[in-house]
């Protein structure tokens, strides 16, 4: 009996401890979310502000701001360095991004440009009829001296529910940040060197060739 009582007491104390711990942890988390009055970009915070996955990345490219902006503003150029994007075609005021999915499938995202500041910033968002909800922006700012332009890409996405959603989630959440980082690096390389670096030693072994092979 004494043993049982002791156990009960111990359980209560442990439970209380957990509860206090939980409260403290919750307070800690909410503080994290509120934090961010420092000067760092919001996407470098240790705890995200929204449930949508957000990624952001900056590279410095040794080219004039206007040239980089113009290249990006012509959305048809983007598949040259965005490995997952098959094509971006124009449909009225909209652009339809055709994105490669597993097993030769594709996912379509219909977007509109919601902000366009000449030479500085382009933002886009998905509209009704897209397989995925997403927003993105790219900003161009002069780097100090003759270092060129700082290019920042920020994207967020929210995959839908259901089977298709799972496929898309798999496609995007696999490593969206990795994909975006690689794409941005390829953009930098293409602008600075005129080509996409590859260590393949025959054409059929490049990543682009291998992807095409997978699709057919």
């Amino acid at each position: 009996m004494t043993n049982d009582k002791q156990l009960g007491l111990a359980g209560t104390v442990a439970g209380l401890g957990l509860a206090i711990g939980g409260l403290a942890f919750g307070a800690f988390l909410s503080q994290r979310r509120k934090a961010g009055d420092d000067d760092a970009p919001f996407y470098t915070r240790k705890s995200p502000d929204s449930d949508n996955a957000v990624l952001g990345r900056t590279v410095t490219i040794r080219k004039p701001r206007a040239e980089l902006y113009a290249f990006w503003r012509d959305f048809g150029n983007l598949p040259r360095f965005m490995e997952n994007v098959e094509t971006i075609r124009k449909e009225g005021d909209h652009r339809v991004w055709v994105i490669k999915a597993p097993a030769g499938q594709t996912v379509e995202i219909k977007t509109e440009v919601c902000e366009d500041v000449e030479g500085k910033r382009i933002a886009w968002r998905s509209v009704e009829g897209s397989d995925i909800e997403t927003r993105g922006s790219v900003e161009f700012a002069d780097a100090p001296g003759d270092r060129g332009t700082r290019v920042s890409l920020v994207m967020s996405y929210n995959p839908p529910a259901g089977n298709l959603g799972r496929t898309i989630a798999k496609l995007f959440q696999r490593e969206p940040e990795v994909q975006a980082r690689h794409d941005l690096k390829r953009f930098k390389g293409l602008m600075e060197t005129g080509e996409i670096a590859t260590s393949a030693h025959r054409k059929e072994n490049t990543r682009a060739a291998k992807q095409q092979e997978k699709e057919t």
């Binding site: 690689h182 590859t198 030693h201």
Partner: protein, 397 residues
């Protein structure tokens, strides 16, 4: 074509592999006439560098004739060129400030993650090395695809033999930059750990830069003899207390600059080195750094530490206190080869620098595997192996 390929620790073979072809417009294809085995190839051979895959073609010291050019290459068919081991695009921030071995574009985007995680930044690409540094096929082969051929390769005149200019690809500029990083002044006493090819070229460079005394440290008699021949005083670390000797030989002040041309697989009897050997063997990735630790204790306060020796990971018991309290300057890094090739080619042409003295063996490419084995196990007599794809295979030996 025939090429030396990696298959695992102490397992390299000459296989038949696909010929390379032009992929990007700035590429060129080089037909290799001479290629060398580098001390850093032995790190691959010993399996202590991560990211090497079976079938990878090794080799990053090579030269040859241009046989094919992309539409934006500035090379012409038939030109003889030496190719830097560091692959550099010429267009990024680091290339523009001549820090070519920090090129931001040559390592393909999808291969940059591993080194970025390990070092905080991704590495530039190198020929014939780890996939951490791009996984580009190397020069111990009949043909090589050379990207950014308008930036890297240096055209050499026909009257200079391969043996005289081949080392512009890596070890000569590496030895030169090691001496430059030691910021040598005319009255300096400089100590160099390791009399392998890089150490020997560092000694030669330090003397050309005007050091009053260069002291070479090794234990292989033949390598010490080569150092002596260049004009260095020598210390055999198996027979002599190195730190005490260096203090005496520098008049009790300590040497002004030290150069660690040994790197991660150093030999040494210190307990911590043996512990590091064990850790390296079981894959815990501790770099043996006994030479570097000794160098840091030996250099005078306010002195300079130059590290051309290759390290890949972490090391234990690093003498951080000595570094801070003595106010040392440390400089290191993969060589910015493209920064030095033109100047060093001139020094070869006018006879200031000789590079042929350290070649101990010339083998046909077909014998490359034997070259690795002997270079690894008979370090005293095999100081430098040059492979010649065109050379006839001897019937015996």
């Amino acid at each position: 074509m025939r090429a030396l390929t990696w298959h695992g620790t102490h397992d390299v073979r000459v296989d038949t592999v696909d010929d390379p072809e032009i992929i990007n417009s700035r590429d060129a294809i080089i037909e290799v006439t001479s290629t060398a085995i580098c001390g850093s190839d032995l790190h691959l051979y010993d399996g202590v560098i991560p990211g090497v895959l079976p079938g990878d073609v090794l080799g990053h010291e090579f030269m040859g004739r241009v046989v094919e050019t992309g539409s934006d290459s500035t090379l012409k068919k038939g030109q003889r060129v030496v190719v830097p081991f560091t692959i550099s695009c010429g267009g990024c921030f680091h290339c523009q400030i001549q820090q070519f071995s920090a090129c931001e574009n040559s390592n393909p985007a999808e291969k940059q993650d591993m080194s970025a995680k390990l070092y905080g930044h991704s590495m530039a690409a190198l020929f014939g090395y780890s996939h951490m540094t791009g996984g580009y096929s190397g020069g111990q082969a009949e043909y090589v695809r050379v990207p950014y051929s308008d930036v890297g390769p240096i055209v050499v005149p026909d009257h200079l033999d391969d043996d005289k200019v081949l080392f512009l690809s890596d070890i000569l500029p590496t030895g030169w930059m090691a001496a430059e990083n030691a910021e040598i002044q005319p009255d300096d006493t400089v100590a160099v750990w390791g009399c392998g090819p890089v150490g020997l070229f560092a000694i030669q460079s330090a003397i050309v830069m005007g050091a009053s005394k260069v002291i070479a440290i090794d234990h292989y008699p033949n390598r010490l003899a080569l150092a002596k021949q260049l004009g260095a005083e020598v210390i055999d670390f198996r027979k002599t207390n190195v730190r005490e000797a260096l203090m005496e030989m520098s008049g009790g002040i300590g040497v002004d600059a030290v150069i660690d041309a040994v790197g991660m697989e150093s030999h040494g009897f210190a307990v911590d080195n043996l512990v590091d050997v064990v850790k390296q063997k079981v894959g815990m990735g501790a770099d043996r750094a006994s030479a570097l630790k000794q160098a840091i204790l030996a250099v005078r306060p306010g002195g300079r530490v130059s590290i051309p020796g290759v390290y890949g990971g972490l090391t234990d018991k690093f003498p951080l206190g000595a570094l801070m309290e003595k106010g040392l300057h440390i400089r290191s890094g993969q060589t910015h080869v493209q920064r030095y090739t033109k100047d060093l080619l001139e020094k070869i042409e006018d006879g200031t620098l000789d590079t042929t003295f350290l070649i101990s063996h010339r083998l046909p490419l077909e014998d490359a595997a034997r070259g690795y084995e002997c270079f690894s196990t008979e370090q005293d007599s095999w100081t430098k192996v040059v492979l010649k794809p065109g050379m006839d295979t001897p019937a015996t030996n």
